[in-house]
């Protein structure tokens, strides 16, 4: 309880709060080492919209800077940007030497997180056909098996709950399946790295494949859930058709689309 009302030493009220926030900032992505050419083009751009650049914090992106070429002339570049009214405050995507040079100019070294995100985003598209290969192989693995038993199989952690899961309660089956043989109330939350089976009415939330297992499924006798999710793909109650409510269903991912199917 006390943690929520943390104050500074003694009973004085807190003098500041430490919080995280995200900002959208302009990035100057250097494509060439030639600082003269950059200066010329930048001048032309700023002339078109001088107000836009005034006192604007900017980040210098070095991820596309030609490798092996000349080193980045940080003093020149920073001076140039400041001259146009911008506030260069950090770099990203640089190599070790570039980062050291940037630090010497008191520029912040920003994480590469976003750069990576955009790269993977682009990468997803060409990789799309790839998953179809293992998917095609899957049926052969399952041949001869009477039921498509989850691949987690024997030895994996398995959690069984026999009492009702009440509003405000959370059950997380780490590393395996979760079976509930009682009611799951609205406001309760079920989570499992594997599949979720509910044999009473499911009125709360059920999130299967918590660690991104897209093969995880949710099985329930009586679907009245507030939210269902498999590997982060979710549907809220409002988007569950009436004819699928109150009946036994299975919920699974099919080509990144969450499907709810009568059993």
């Amino acid at each position: 309880m006390a943690g929520y009302q943390r104050t500074s030493v003694g009973d004085r009220p807190a003098v500041f709060e430490l919080k995280a926030a995200g900002f959208t900032l302009p990035i100057i992505r250097l494509l060439e080492a030639d600082i003269e050419a950059v200066a010329a083009e930048l001048g032309a751009r700023v002339e078109q919209a001088p107000e836009f650049f005034r006192n604007t914090p900017v980040v210098i992106d070095l991820s596309a800077f030609p490798e092996g070429g000349a080193k980045v002339e940080f003093p020149l570049l920073v001076g140039l940007l400041r001259g146009y009214g911008m506030i260069p405050f950090g770099v990203r995507g640089g190599n070790k030497a570039q980062n050291e040079a940037a630090e010497a100019m008191e520029l912040a070294i920003l994480g590469e997180h976003e750069t990576r995100a955009t790269r993977t985003e682009r990468a997803i598209v060409p990789e799309e056909p790839a998953p179809s290969a293992p998917a095609a192989a899957a049926p052969s693995v399952q041949q001869g098996e009477p039921a498509p038993i989850p691949r987690a199989g024997a030895g994996a952690a398995f959690t069984l709950v026999t009492r009702p899961v009440r509003s405000g309660q959370r059950v997380y089956a780490a590393g395996g399946d979760l079976s509930i043989i009682a009611a799951v109330s609205s406001g309760a939350e079920l989570m499992a790295d594997g599949n979720i089976h509910v044999y009473g009415p499911l009125r709360g939330r059920a999130l299967a494949g918590m660690k991104g297992n897209t093969d995880a499924r949710i099985f329930c006798q009586d679907l009245q859930a507030e939210l269902v999710s498999v590997a982060g793909h979710y549907r809220v109650s409002e988007n569950i058709p009436m004819e699928l409510r109150g009946v036994p269903v299975q919920i699974y991912l099919d080509q990144k689309i969450l499907r709810i199917e009568k059993l």
Binding site: P164, G168, Q169, A183, S185, G200
Partner: protein
């Protein structure tokens, strides 16, 4: 649930009191009315009973029990060892088996410590058959203290969705934050008591039915108390409604006490009362 009373070694040997918490989560559903009625009902059936008000700072039980002018020491005084139990307990004038331990009006819920409450209950457990704990509303400290040592819980619920959801939340807390849960003992026995039930409004679809509530909460139903003017009258005059043998609510509470003690009693007042010609004629 029938038959447990005789099976239960505690009741047979009558060594330690059974601790019953009356809880709900939501306020204004009838916890204090129920605590008073249940305690009086148990005492009238010959069981030595004490009813404790856990609503420190907003004490009301003394009013409902009609002993507000006899309060000298209270629960917090006993916890802080400023008074002993015999000084604080108020014997009911109508029933020799019933005692009231009032809450403090000038303190707040933080005065209830787990150790202090445990010590008081432990001491009471040796001299009584039942200890009824009247929980404050909410799920904070006062409510968790009231339920922590409980053996049985009666969850008081009104037939409307917000009360049902709060009861459900309370049931979750009961099964995880009690002494029995923490020490991995047999869990608290939970019972559902529906109060302010109005069959006419249920019939019109304006109120949840007994079945609706039971389906959501999946609990043993211990009683249904019909909406009744006699409850307010009883509260205002400091008489536990169970003593009003003429009223439906009084009868329903008496049935509830009987069921708690293991009797098999059919539920009454679930249907709209058919008004006879004369009744209709005279009452309009």
């Amino acid at each position: 649930m029938q038959g447990w009373a005789t099976d239960h070694p505690i009741l047979e040997a009558a060594t330690l009191a059974r601790i019953i918490v009356i809880t709900s989560g939501k306020g204004g559903v009838g916890k204090t009315t129920t605590s008073a009625a249940l305690a009086m009902g148990l005492a009238q059936r010959g069981h030595r009973t004490v009813v404790i008000d856990f609503d420190v700072g907003l004490r009301n039980l003394d009013l409902i029990m009609g002993c507000e002018r006899r309060v000298v020491y209270d629960f917090v005084n006993v916890i802080n060892q400023e008074a002993n139990l015999n000084q604080a307990l108020i014997r009911d004038k109508r029933c020799d088996n019933l005692y009231v331990l009032p809450a403090s009006q000038t303190r707040d819920k933080d005065a209830l410590t787990k150790e202090g409450v445990g010590r008081v209950l432990e001491e009471l457990a040796h001299g009584y058959d039942f200890i009824v704990c009247d929980s404050p509303a909410g799920i904070e400290h006062g409510a968790t203290m009231a339920m922590y040592y409980a053996d049985d819980a009666i969850v008081v619920t009104n037939p409307e969705v917000s009360s049902v959801r709060d009861s459900d939340r309370m049931l979750g807390i009961l099964s995880s934050k009690s002494r029995r849960a923490e020490s991995n003992e047999e869990p608290i026995r939970e019972f559902l008591l529906l109060t302010r039930y109005d069959p006419a409004r249920v019939e019109k679809g304006e109120m949840l039915s007994v079945d609706d509530v039971q389906e959501i909460l999946s609990l043993t139903l211990i009683g249904v108390i019909p909406e009744s003017k006699s409850v307010l009258t009883a509260s205002n005059s400091g008489v536990p409604v169970v003593l009003d043998r003429e009223s439906d609510a009084g009868k329903a509470y008496a049935d509830t006490v009987a069921r708690y003690l293991g009797d098999e009693v059919p539920h009454r007042f679930l249907q709209v009362e058919k008004k006879g010609f004369l009744k209709r004629f005279f009452r309009g």
